[in-house]
């Protein structure tokens, strides 16, 4: 335990903690304006998340890597169970009730999938990814993602794909496989447009390309989000003083569009502070991966970095109106227990990797 604190990387805990606390202030501001009590619950979730962080950082990550296959099986069972017997909450069958607070196994599933991928590729000495291994990874990510899609939660399913993308990034792919992936992705898009995407999802994409075509419908979100951000200006309207948030022009303001609320009240200056915090967090994670001595820990930390970063990127681009509404929250900042616990668990794993490297020396 002494060693644990000796080698503890504080930036991996306090950077995300500052982000989450700022987020709680924003949730408080929303509470003041609308009476939605998300900030109180988020505090509870943060406490749970910190516990998860310490569990994952204290227990050796290798322990979890070994546990990964059985956890994966368990995940598939739970997700299948949910599709068959789960109740629909907020349009999706992905929730399990825990004493009034719901959790989404699909969120935790990302930890399991990342662990399993890192385990499988821990002895991957073959250079760039080949077809067979790519399919192996695709299958591991694809099965739970498909179950999540069946549970009607496209947003979360999309975050699963970030694992695959990051994997390709780190291991690299052979040229012909890259061509295959690009062609496959295009075919997949066309296929999903015709068979997978629901009408409302198609409409989102169509309206995204021309938001003014439906200013009070689907395009409304995008337009209102931009108005909210833009009207904040350089210094913002001041804490608790946002008008857009207050009068309910912004939808999903505690989840998908929480950054817009923040931007309205704290302005461009606030955005600089927040994004620099994220950047520092990404750098801290990157450092841990960069000094890794084996592929499995490099892969594990790298995948976690990719997971958090891509969620961050997509959420912000949606808020800015650069991407259609995707239903992806801002990690560490948005309201959401499962997501918060998941991200802190992942950061706990990174902390664990960091500590075990130095404690070995």
């Amino acid at each position: 335990m002494k060693r644990y604190f000796k080698y503890f990387n504080y930036s991996l805990l306090f950077t995300p903690l500052s982000i989450t606390i700022i987020g709680i202030f924003v949730l408080y501001s929303i509470f003041k304006a609308t009476g939605q009590p998300f900030f109180e619950r988020q505090i509870v979730w943060l406490i749970v998340s910190l516990i998860a962080f310490f569990i994952f950082s204290i227990l050796n990550y290798k322990f979890f890597l070994n546990l990964a296959p059985s956890l994966y099986v368990f995940l598939i069972v739970v997700l299948t169970f949910l599709i068959l017997f789960g109740k629909k909450i907020a349009g999706t069958k992905s929730w399990i009730g825990v004493g009034g607070l719901g959790v989404q196994p699909s969120e935790f599933g990302k930890i399991v999938v990342i662990l399993l991928i890192a385990r499988i590729f821990k002895n991957y000495y073959k250079g760039a990814l080949n077809f067979i291994d790519f399919f192996k990874a695709g299958l591991i990510v694809g099965v739970p993602a498909l179950l999540v899609i069946l549970g009607n939660d496209m947003g979360t399913a999309m975050t699963y794909s970030f694992i695959l993308i990051t994997l390709i990034f780190i291991l690299g792919v052979r040229k012909n496989l890259l061509i295959f992936i690009v062609v496959g992705a295009i075919l997949f898009s066309i296929g999903s447009w015709n068979f997978v995407l629901k009408d409302y999802q198609k409409k989102r994409i169509k309206v995204f390309l021309n938001p003014q075509s439906d200013p009070l419908g689907v395009g409304y979100h995008t337009i209102q989000s931009k108005i909210t951000i833009g009207s904040g200006g350089i210094s913002g309207k001041g804490f608790l003083k946002g008008t857009q948030k207050k009068l309910g022009f912004l939808p999903a303001q505690h989840t998908d569009f929480i950054l817009s609320v923040y931007a309205e009240e704290f302005g461009f200056v606030g955005i600089i502070v927040l994004i620099l915090l994220y950047t520092f967090l990404f750098y801290s994670i990157f450092r841990v991966a960069y000094v890794a001595e084996d592929i499995s820990s490099l892969l594990l930390v790298g995948l976690i970095l990719g997971q958090i970063f891509f969620q961050f990127l997509i959420n912000i681009l949606v808020s800015l109106g650069k991407l259609p509404v995707a239903g992806i929250t801002l990690p560490l900042f948005s309201y959401g227990g499962s997501s918060l616990i998941t991200v802190y668990s992942l950061l706990g794993i990174v902390e664990g990797v960091h500590i075990s490297k130095y404690s070995r020396e």
Partner: protein, 597 residues
């Protein structure tokens, strides 16, 4: 083998780290991009989004002001306001999700109105107008059944009401929905009513009042959060006119009784106040205060006698014999004639090798100026006109207010035309022929006047040399204007005018009143020459070929209180038709109005 694997592992780890570094550079690049996006939206486009956020929450509701009242000199209301109930739909109730329910409610209400189920939505900014001016009982029903009628609304707004109907339409004019030009000129909003003609137009700025407004903050469902500011509307000013309503109504009645088309003006020469101004046919200005069908409009416009045109100020007519007063004054003032100057009338006169006929073919015999006015002898004025020449006639006509605006407080006044050498050359590029002066001397030729100019001319004569330009607004104080003609010359002309009414051979004897000295002058304007009527016209009985009848008068002669001028289109001889009408008006005035004043 182990070494080989270990070596490979190291190499691969290095390459993976290189990739990882690339990933991090990729991350930094996107973070930089995100900063740029925020910079653009929050710093560069800040103003745009700030205004959009304002628009999101601020709704400004306009409160229409009451239009100013118009009253006669005794305080009787001529133009009033009433409440109108308009069926409207707030715009947010027409978005796709609510449209069906809204349309169902509209249909239901239209059924109650029994006016067919076709309707048009008129875009009024924040709402659509469905039906204007729905009956009170239906508006009430909608109000009291708010649960059933959730999407439609009733807007209560003031509307113009003319309680007298047709009466006074001659000078009141009418209102109508403001067009783009008027919206800009008077600072109005779409759908506002604006004075289009008559007093309603001339005093638009005074009458329109100032709209009030409520600034409301609403939420995303357009539900009121709070009222930020409320400014009540300011009603337009009340206009008190010099019009005497009972006289006005009486004159209207006199003219309607005999189906006369034309104008009658009664004014007080001592201050220029118009006591009554009637132009027939009358129309009902209430027609213009709400929805006005094209059919009604077409009907009104095609009515014989053009009711929508104020002929008292925009009707251009030859002056005829009334102009002899002007020529006579010019002759006396210039010293070309005096009361002893005699001209013999043989029923015609040859001037510049052309025969000019007197209206009395038998001839009037020896004429001096007073007799020539009494009997309206053309020959006397042919000779005088020849001596004066066009330049002096023009000078005096203009001095006496002809050929220029009187400046009456109504819109659409015409200036008329006093011919001159300059005018002729500009208009036709040829010089003036002396022969033309001869017809101008008896008020024919290109000379054109309006009835209001003649009424003003009669005030000048009645006052013996000064006048106040005519006006309708009681409080409008016009300057006293002097005319440089000697009083004695006016007296000579007035003597002739007295004879017109009271002399043995006067042309206007039908205007004579017992106990009051009336002075006047007749004028009969041929609209077609006798030869043309004989040879070229088929239906000789057609009213269109009848003469225009003028009669102007003032009384009492010694100290005139009123001037009455009547101009009747295609009615016959001035002495036969117009003089009796003027007599009736004067009689009514002296019996009923004078004591009350």
């Amino acid at each position: 083998m182990i070494f080989n694997t270990e070596y490979k592992r190291k190499i691969l780890l290095q390459s993976n780290k290189r990739n990882l570094k690339l990933l991090f550079i990729f991350i930094l690049f996107f973070i930089f991009l995100i900063f740029l996006f925020f910079w653009k939206i929050q710093v560069i486009d800040y103003e745009k989004y700030f205004l959009a956020a304002q628009r999101n929450i601020i709704r400004v509701e306009r409160i229409s002001p009451l239009r100013g009242l118009i009253k006669d000199s005794k305080g009787n209301i001529i133009a009033d306001n009433r409440l109108s109930f308009d069926l409207i739909i707030p715009k947010e109730n027409m978005i796709s999700s609510k449209r069906k329910s809204t349309e169902k409610e509209i249909k239901e209400i239209l059924n109650m109105l029994k006016k067919g189920d076709k309707y048009e939505l008129k875009n009024m900014g924040t709402y659509y107008l469905v039906k204007e001016d729905i009956p009170l009982n239906i508006a009430n029903f909608i109000f009291s059944n708010r649960r059933e009628f959730r999407y439609v609304s009733i807007r209560v707004s003031p509307r113009r009401l003319y309680p007298l109907g047709e009466s006074c339409s001659s000078f009141i004019g009418y209102i109508g929905e403001a067009n783009l030009k008027e919206i800009r000129k008077f600072g109005l909003k779409t759908g506002d009513f604006v004075g289009k003609y008559g007093l309603e137009r001339y005093y638009e700025n005074e009458l329109k009042g100032k709209a009030g407004y409520k600034v409301k903050v609403v939420n995303n469902l357009n539900i009121l959060e709070r009222i930020v500011r409320e400014v009540p509307p300011v009603a337009g000013k009340t206009l008190t006119l010099s019009i005497n309503l009972s006289l006005q109504k009486k004159v209207e009645e006199f003219m309607k009784e005999e189906n006369l088309i034309g104008s009658t003006i009664v004014l007080n020469p001592k201050n220029g106040e118009i006591l009554s101004l009637v132009t027939t046919p009358l129309f009902n200005p209430n027609l213009f205060t709400s929805y006005f069908s094209k059919k009604d409009w077409d009907k009104l416009v095609s009515t014989e006698g053009k009711p929508l045109i104020n002929k008292a100020i925009s009707g251009l007519y030859p002056a005829g014999s009334i102009f002899k007063l002007v020529v006579g004054l010019a002759g006396l003032e210039e010293g070309l004639i005096n009361e002893n100057t005699i001209v013999n009338c043989y029923g015609y006169k040859e001037i510049y090798n052309k025969i000019f006929h007197c209206w009395n073919a038998a001839g009037h015999g020896p004429m001096n100026i007073t007799k020539a006015i009494e009997q309206s002898c053309d020959v006397y004025f042919y000779v005088l006109g020849k001596n004066l020449k066009i330049d002096l006639i023009e000078k005096y006509a203009k001095m006496l207010g002809l050929g220029k605006y009187t400046g009456i407080d109504l819109v659409g006044e015409k200036s008329g035309l006093v011919p001159s050498r300059e005018w002729k050359f500009k208009r036709f590029h040829i010089k003036w022929f002396p022969g033309e002066t001869i017809s101008v001397a008896i008020g024919q030729g290109p000379l054109l006047v309006t009835p209001i100019q003649i009424a003003q001319l009669f005030s000048i004569i009645a006052n013996r040399g000064f006048y106040f330009p005519p006006h309708l607004l009681k409080t409008r104080k016009n300057k006293k204007i002097f005319v440089k003609i000697k009083r004695e010359n006016f007296e000579k002309i007035i003597k002739g005018m007295w004879l017109v009414v009271n002399g043995e051979k006067g042309t206007g004897r039908l205007a004579k009143l017992d106990g009051i000295n009336v002075c006047g002058k007749t004028s009969t304007v041929q609209v077609i020459s006798k030869e043309t009527l004989k040879t070229k016209v088929k239906n000789k009985k057609d009213k269109r070929w009848l003469h225009h009848a003028w009669f102007g008068a003032f009384a009492p002669c010694e100290s005139p209180e009123i001037v009455v001028v009547s101009m009747l289109e295609h009615a016959g001889g001035g002495g036969e038709v117009a003089a009796p009408l003027v007599r009736k008006v004067m009689k009514y005035y002296f019996n009923n109005i004078k004591e009350n004043r």
